[in-house]
């Protein structure tokens, strides 16, 4: 088992293996998203409180969930890279950041759009999740900015790893503080997604979308890690053999 793990951490093996893995993530993911979205949009019954507007949940929840999962992946792989000095791990962290930022942006946009018919405003500071999500977007930007500011890849890896870990420790604190802060304002209506208990006709497409988006995220992540690996190893022999296969010269 460790032998397989060591093999995986070796860049040329990872590069070859991930190429085969990506379709296995992407295709089932797209299928699940198609099923979940179709069912969620046209088959699931309208919510008695929010009407058809609640259907935004089918994209908002996956986006929000993935934005947080991406940060965890980023922080954990950065930590592994820092502690065990596995370069591939650092590549995963670097690749996860922009994807996480995109999904955070998406969660904020869909959350805001959902909020307009529900609360009457495009932004509700009193909603703790929206505010925490915004702060997490700032954390992503800080991470990417730090990486961009350091030229040496190894140094950038380690410095941003420290930042990612400090951020990871702070995320629960941020969530807690924003919850407390919003609870002080009694008037804030917190959207309970779909109501206190979701009937299966509503829940199943949601789960399908969550899984589907996660799989697609995985495919996107693998793709970006491949690119990172190619770039980082660009001076190595194996990269030459991959990019210019024997016999293909001019």
């Amino acid at each position: 088992m460790w032998k397989w793990f060591h093999k995986l951490a070796s860049p040329p093996h990872f590069y070859a293996l991930s190429a085969k893995m990506i379709p296995w993530f992407f295709v089932p993911g797209i299928v699940l998203i198609a099923y979940g979205s179709w069912t969620g949009l046209f088959v699931a019954p309208a919510d008695y409180q929010q009407g058809d507007a609640f259907r935004i949940i089918y994209v908002h929840v996956p986006a929000a969930y993935l934005s947080m999962m991406a940060y965890m992946i980023m922080a954990i792989s950065a930590g592994i890279g820092l502690i065990w000095r596995i370069k591939l791990s650092h590549a995963v962290a670097a690749a996860a950041a922009p994807l996480g930022a995109w999904f955070t942006f998406l969660a904020l946009m869909t959350g805001s759009i959902w909020g307009r018919p529900m609360w009457g405003t495009w932004w509700e500071w009193g909603d703790p999740r929206l505010t925490s999500e915004l702060i997490m977007l700032f954390l992503y930007f800080g991470y990417m900015a730090l990486r961009a500011a350091i030229d040496d890849t190894g140094k950038a890896d380690k410095a941003s790893a420290v930042l990612a870990l400090v951020g990871a420790v702070n995320i629960p604190i941020i969530h807690f503080s924003v919850e407390w802060w919003s609870s002080l304002h009694q008037g804030a209506t917190i959207v309970r997604e779909g109501g206190p208990a979701m009937p299966p006709e509503m829940l199943i497409p949601l789960l399908a979308n969550i899984f589907g988006f996660t799989l697609v995220f995985g495919a996107l992540l693998l793709g970006r890690v491949r690119t990172e690996v190619l770039f980082r190893e660009r001076r190595k022999r194996w990269v030459r053999d991959v990019v210019l296969p024997a016999g293909a010269e001019a």
Partner: protein, 232 residues
């Protein structure tokens, strides 16, 4: 004649030496203490100027404004935490010394607080009074600012260590530290607002104290790691 290498100073002596050095340097350059203080006062003044002098508005916004101003003033002063040491080579000496680096990092952060945070806490009542804060609110404000500025010095030292010597380090430092300091700001400002309206403040003060303890125990290690990384 036997050669006698003197033993390196003990832990506490080394720690105290770091603090003493920075405080003495600041003593010789009063600007290091005064500039952030004036910045604090000026930023606080911006809000009434921009928003209007009505007493009601001042009382409502006072806690928040004082806290934001304190946060910004602290951020401004954090950039230079390691910068002058980096430039004149003392940072290298610090990294080479036999003293444990986290302890040295803690010393730098405490010194930073003594130079910027503590004066800020002591001056804050003057600002608070202009916002029509009563004495109960002011004492809560000083308590929250005390815990908060210590936490900020510690959190900020991590950011300063990560960005020391980087191009446009100041802007980057703010970008890194601001999201992380939002919980401190939230609890600090809202607790003072609760005090002003006569509500219970224990929860907020306890949270800030707890965060401060967390920062005291964890931040020095992160700062030490960041210093080694930035200077390899």
């Amino acid at each position: 004649m036997s050669t006698h290498t003197p033993a390196p100073p003990g832990l506490f002596k080394g720690f105290a030496a770091v603090i003493r050095r920075d405080v003495l340097l600041a003593w010789k350059r009063p600007g290091d203490v005064l500039n952030p203080l004036f910045f604090f006062a000026m930023v606080s003044t911006l809000f009434p100027l921009a928003v209007g002098p009505s007493t009601e508005q001042l009382q409502l916004s006072g806690p928040g404004v004082v806290w934001v101003a304190a946060l910004l003033a602290t951020l401004l002063s954090l950039n230079s935490l390691f910068l002058s040491d980096f430039e004149d080579g003392s940072l290298d000496q610090l990294l080479l010394s036999p003293q444990p680096l986290p302890l040295m990092a803690l010393g730098k952060a405490i010194a930073h607080w003594l130079i910027t945070g503590l004066p800020l806490v002591l001056v804050s009542p003057l600002i608070a009074v202009t916002f029509q804060m009563d004495s109960a609110a002011i004492s809560v404000m000083m308590a929250t600012l005390a815990f908060g500025t210590v936490s900020l010095s510690l959190l900020g030292s991590v950011g300063a260590a990560l960005t020391v010597g980087l191009h446009r380090g100041t802007a980057l430092l703010s970008l890194l530290i601001l999201p992380l300091s939002m919980p401190i700001l939230i609890f600090g400002a809202r607790t003072v607002a609760l005090a002003a309206s006569g509500d219970a403040v224990a929860a907020g003060v306890y949270f800030l104290a707890a965060y401060c303890m967390l920062a005291l125990t964890l931040a020095p290690f992160a700062t030490a790691a960041a210093l080694r990384i930035s200077n390899e």
